[in-house]
Amino acid sequence: MHLKSPDDLEQFRTRILEKRKAQDTKKRVVLCTGTGCRGAGALDVYDAFKKALGNKSDIEFKTTCCHGFCERGPITIIEPEGIFYQRVTPETVPQIIAETVKKDQMIEELLYQDPQTEEAIPAEKDIPFYKKQNRLVFGHNRLIDPTQIEDYLAVGGYQALVKALFSMSPEEIIAEVKSSGLRGRGGGGFPAGRKWESCSQAPGDVRYVICNCDEGDPGAYMDRSLMEGNPHRVLEGMIIGAYAIGAHEGYVYVRHEYPLAVENVGIAIEQAHKMGFLGENILGSGFDFDVTISKGGGAFVAGESTALMASIEGYVAEPRAKYIHTVESGLWDKPTNLNNVETWANVPVIIEKGAEWYSKIGTEGSKGTKIFSLVGKINNTGLIEVPMGMTLREIVYDIGGGIPDGKRFKAVQTGGPSGGCIPEEMLDLPVDFDALTEAGSMMGSGGMIVMDESTCMVDVAKYFTNFLKDESCGKCTSCRDGTLRMYEILDRITKGEGKEGDIELLEEIGWTTTEASLCALGGTAANPVLSTIRYFRDEYEAHIKDKRCPAGVCPALITYTIDAEACIACGKCKKECPTKAITGEKKVPHEIVQAKCIKCGTCKEVCPVDAVKVE
C-alpha cells in the first residue's frame, strides 16, 4: 500500500480505526517486551501466552515496548479495563487467561500494591507511579507494537506530517518550533527552533538531519525505549524537520549495543518507505527524504555531535572545535542539524497541537515534558515523563515512591555521569534546564540516580570520575589529564591517604577542566566532584582529616564490629565470612578479628538482628 496523498492516508486510517472499533470492547492482552521487561523474562512470558492462547484464539495478544515501570516487569495489561499485572511469570500465564481474560476475575498477587497503604491497585492509571506523569511523548508506547505501522496510524500517526507538508511552509514550521520553546533533550538544551533556523539558512545545496540515538549515560535508556517502542514517532519528527530545513537525507545514529532499537527503526524505515512516508515525493507533496541507519561503536563521547558526525563519516569519534557550527558545516562539511531521539519525538505533537498549546506545559525557560530514568535507591525505578518544573520531591516521593527500607534520602544525581549531586535541602528544586545548571548539575539526557544515607559521596564522585576518565576521548589536556588526576586524588582520599589541600586541589583541577575543555564532556566532567564538594564538603573532610567514611562505604576507612549485647550468637556471620575473621561459639557473642577482616560487609548483610556495626 503506497499512499500518494493525505486523502489516501486518511482513508487508510479510517479503515484501520473501523476495524479496531469492533475489537475495542473485546479482551486483549498487552505484554511489554521492551528491553527492561525482556531482562526480567518477558520473552518467556510471551512464549507462555502464545502457547496458552494457541493460534486460533480470538483473544488479541499484542506486544509493545517499554511502558516505563521497568522495576515491575514483565508487565502485562489486560484491556479494555487496563488491568495492570506486574512481575508476570510464565507460570502465572494460564491463570491470567483462565481467570482474568475469560472470567473477569482479578488476580490479587499480580496487582501493584501501594507501598504506603498496602492496597492493591488494579488499574494502571490509578498507580501513583503513572498518576502524576504527563506522558506526552512516551504515552503511546503502551498502545503500539513498534513493528506495526498501523498501530502508529491508529493513534493519529503522521497527521502532523500531513499538516506540515500540506498546510505549512518550512518557515512556518521553524517559527512554530521556535515559539514552542522546545530545547534539545540530549543534554545541551539548545533551542531546537534556532538550530533548525541556522541550518536552514546556512549556504549550500545539500543538508543533513541526524537523529542522535547514541545514548551513553549509564542507567539512562529513554532514547532507547522511544526508539524501540515508537520509532515512527521519531521518524515523523525527522521528516518534518528535514522538510523545514531543506534536507533530503537523514541519518539515525544508534549504538550497536541497542540491537532492538536498530531492528525496530529498521523495520519502521522500511514500512515508511513502502507506505510513502519516506522516499521520493512523500504523500504526493513533492518532498523527497530518506533515512539511513548508522551504527556506532558505543563510545560515550560519540554522542557529542561533532564526534558523532566523524563516526558516521567513518573516522574515530572525536569531537572537534565547533568554531564552525555543525549547522553550517557538519556531516561531510555540509550544513547538518542534529537532534536527539526525544527532541525529534516532540516535534509531531508541537506541529499537531501547536506551539501555543505546547508552551503551556513546563516552566518559563523549559517547555514541554522530559523523560527521566529514575534509578538507584528508590522504590519505583523506571522511565518517567513529567512536565518541566516538577520538583525533585514530587519525582522522588510521589512518583518514585520514596526510599526503600525506610532509609533516609541523601542526594539525587542528575544529568548522567557528568551531572552533579543535589542534596536533600534542595528537594524542592523545580526540575528544568536552568535550575539544574544553577544547582551545579545539569539536565543531561535525563538520568536521575537517587542515593540514600548509605551512599558515600566521595565514592560516588570517584565512581563517575572513573567513568569519565575512561570515556574522555583523550584529546584535550584539561579533560584527559584533569579527569585522571581528579580520579587519582579521589582514590587516595577513599583509601585514607587524603591530605590537607586535596579538596582545594580538586577544586582547582575541576575549575580548569570546566573552564578549559573543548566539548561538553570535558566542560561538565568536573560536576560530580565539584557538586559533591559543594554540598558534602564535610564528608570529604571526614575522609581526609578523621580518616572516616561517614556512610560506611570506603573499606579502608571503616571497621566492622559486633555489638555483643545485640548478638544472638546464631553463627550466620561466622559461616558466611569469606576470610574466617569471625570467632565465637554458640551462645557466646561473636567477635571480628580486625586483622583478618576485609570489610566486605557480608556479616552485616546476613545478620538477622542488625548487631554488626560499621564505624
Binding site: Y323, K475, A516
Partner: protein, 859 residues
Amino acid sequence: MGDETVRITIDGTELQAEAGQTILEVARENGIYVPTLCYHPRLLPIGSCRLCVVEIEGADRPMTACTTQVQDGIVVHTHTDRLHRIRLDALKLILVNHPLDCPQCDAAGVCELQNLVFEFGIDQQEYQATKSAQGMKEFATPLIRQWGDRCVMCLRCIRADHEIVRTHAIDVVGTGNEAHVGITNPDACISCGECLRVCPVGALTERVSRTKARPWQSQKVLTTCHYCSLGCQLELTVFENKVIGVTAPEDRGANRGSLCQRGIFGYDFLHHPQRITAPMIKGAGQWKEVPWEEALSHTAAMVNKVVMGNGPEAVGGLISPRSTNEEIYLFQRFMREVVGTNNIDSTGRLCLEPHRLAIQEILGNNYLPYTLDDIIRGDCIVVAGGDLDANNNIIAANRIREALWRTGARLIVLHPRQGRLAEEADCWFSLRPGAEAIWALGMINLLLKDKEGWGPSVDGIKGFNELKEAAKEFTPAAVAKEIGCSQELVREAAGHLINAKQPAFVCSPPLGQGPNGVDQITALANLALLCGALTDTGEGGFHWVGPQSNMVGAVEMGAAPTLLPGYAPASERGLSSVEMFQAAAKRKIKALFIVGEDPLLTLPRSLVEEGLAALEFLVAQDMFLSETAERAHVFLPALSFAELDGTFTNCEGRVQRLHRALKPPEGLRWGGEIFAEVASYMGSEMTVVSPAAVFEEIINANPFYKGTMFDPHAPQRRNGSGGELLKEAAFGVVKTEQEQGKKDYPFYLSIEGIFSSHLIGHDHQRRAQVLAHVARSYLAMNAEEAAKIGVADGDRVRIVTPWGEMEIGVKGSEGMRKDCLCLSLALCNVDVSRLMGPQLDPRSLVPAYGRVPAKVEKV
C-alpha cells in the same frame, strides 16, 4: 571568506583582520604573544592543549584562540589572571607524565614544552602520580623512534600524517588517559618524517642521530637539497664537521618545511668510508693516488692529444644535473671554448627535454611560469607520467593532496599502476605509457563537443581547426577501447575538466621518455591550453617535476648538445649522451670527461660498455668510485653538496643557494677550479675566482638569469615568462600510435627512479645506509599475470628485454595494468640499464625509459 575586513580589539589595541582569520593568526600577525603547544601553522587547529585560551568579552567561557574566528567588534584579552591560571594548570597536567630526561632528549633546547615551563616558571608539581614508563619504541618506520612518555598529545604528528601526507599510518588509539599516538597502518608509512618535523617535544626522534650533539653545540646551515628537482630548502645540522641531522625551515622553498625520506634521512653517504679524497691515476689496472698537479696535467695532456690527433669532435663531456649551475656553466665553457665541441650532455636534459620541446611547440617558450603553489588553486588536477609518491616527489604529491582536501579539487591520474594518488583519484586511467596522447585527444573530443558552458574562447588559437579535426576520431568509444577502460570513465574525466574553472597538470618522467615521447606531452599540453590550465595569471598551471636537483639548471647552463646557456641554439649540433657512446664504440669519440654521472647505471648499458671499452681516455670526477669511474683512467675526487657553494635551479625556476656546511677534506676543490686548471694545463685560461664570480658571469651570459643574485635577500626565480604567455600560443601537431602487436615481449616496461640513486649508491653499494632500511626496489606487475608465471610477492623474477635482462623481486598488485610492468627503483638496481635499448626519440635525443618491450620469467 577572505575579502571582508573586520575590526577587533586585542589587549586594548584595535586591529584590522580578514574575516575567516582566527584570533591567534591575527594576534601573531600583530606581534601579540599567545602561548600554544598543539597549534602548528600548517595544520588545521584542534584546540586541544588549551594553552591559547583567550577571553572574549561577552562569552562566559574562555575560547581557544587557534580555533576561534574573528568577528567584527569582538574584544579579546590574551593575558588575564583567569587565563594564566588555566594555562598554568594545563601545563602542570601535561607535566605530570612527562619524564624529566631532558639531558638525554634530542629535543632539549628546542623543546616547546621546555620553553613553556620556563616561561611559566613552574618549579614544583602538586600532583603525585605514578609515571607510566613506556620507554622507546620503533615508530611506523624503523627510521623514527617513539618515546611515549614524552608525548604531550598535541596530535600534530597525526594531523601532519592525515592532512599533509594523508597516509593514515598513525592515529589516536584508546580513549581517556589511555589515548596515545598509535601505529595503525605501518605499511602505509612512507618515512617522510613529516610527523617528526612537527613534534614539539622529543616524543619522536630520528633513529640516525640520536643525541649526537645538543642543539646549542651544533650549527644549522641552510642549503638546497641535492636529490630531486623540487629544490627543497633544508638545514643541515652540523657538529664537528659532520652532518648529524636535517631539518627544514617553514618559510623557505617550495617545501615549506616538509621533506621526503631522502631529504631528511638520506645524508649519511656524506661521511661514507668509501669516499675517495685523493686524485688517482690508473696504471696497469691499479689505482694509484697522485698529487693534484699530476692528475690534472695528465688529463690535460690526454685530452689535448685527442684534440690534436682527432679534432675536438672526438672529445665528449657529461655532467651531472646534481652539479651546481656554476660548475655546469664552467664545464660547458670548458667543453665549448677550451676543447671546442658541442659534445656535451647531462641526464638532466634527458628528463627535461621532452617537456621543453612540447612547450616550445605550443607556446614558443622553453619553460612555464608556474609554481607548485599554483597546484593548490587547481580544481581539477591531471597527473601523468611517473608515480610522484614512489619517486619521492612527495612534496609535489602533497600539494595535490592539499588541493583535494582544501578545495575539493578533482583528481585524474594516468598511470598503469594504482599508486597512492591513483587511489585518491576521482578517475584513474590505467593506461599503457605512450597512450597519453590518445587519452588527451579523447578529452579534447568531448571538450569540443561541450562547447556550451565552458569558458575560454579558443577558436582563435592557431591550429584549432587542425586539432578539432585530429580529435574527431577519438570518440569515447574509440578511446575506451584503446586505453582499455569504460566509456563512462572517459566521459566522467572530461566532465571534470569541463566543470573545472582552473585545471592543473602535473607531469613527470618517464612521460616523454619513450618512442614518440614528445608527442605525449604535446597532446597533454594541447589539452591544457584548451581547457584553460595554461593561463597568464599562473593558477593551476602545467608542471614538470623531475628527478634531479639541477635538471633545469643543467639545460639552462648549456649542458646540452643543441643548446648554449640561456637556451640559445648551438651553431652546430653536438652529440647527445647516447650518441657519444655510439660514436665511442665506432672510435669517433676517443676521450670522455664525465662529471658526477654514472652512465653505466642510467644509459643503455651494453652500448655504454662498448663505448667505454673503446675509449682512449676517460676521466671521471665523483665522490665515490662509481661503476663508470672504476673504468676511468683518471679519477678526480669531488665535493659533496654539503661542501659546495653554488646555486641550483629547481623545477619552478627558483634559483637557490647551496651553502657550504662542511669543510671539505684536505686538498679537495670544487669543479670550477678543476675545469680551470685542466684548461690552464691545456694552454687556455679560464679565470675562475669563486662560485659567486661565476654566477655574475652566468647573469651576463644567460638573459633569463638577469636580475637574480647569488645571495638574494628573498626567494628568487629566474625570469618568468608570464603575462604574454599565450600570445604566440598554437596547438601542437600530435602523432598517436595504436597499440602494436608484441608477440615475444608481452609487456610494456617503464623504469621509474633510475636517476635517483646517484651518490647514495645502487642497491649493492647502499651508501645511504639509513635509507636502505626503507627503500625497496621492485617490479610491479599485475597480480594475475604474476600468478600465471607462478610467482608471488617477494619472489625473484627475471625481466628480459631485447637488449638484456636483470633479476629483481616482484610485487603483485590488483591495481596494475595487465600488459604493463613498472620497475619502481628506490635505490637504482645495478643491472637495470641492461634492459635499455639504444634507440633515441629523434626529436629529443632521449633513450626509452618508458614503453620498453619486455617479458618476465620466474627465477
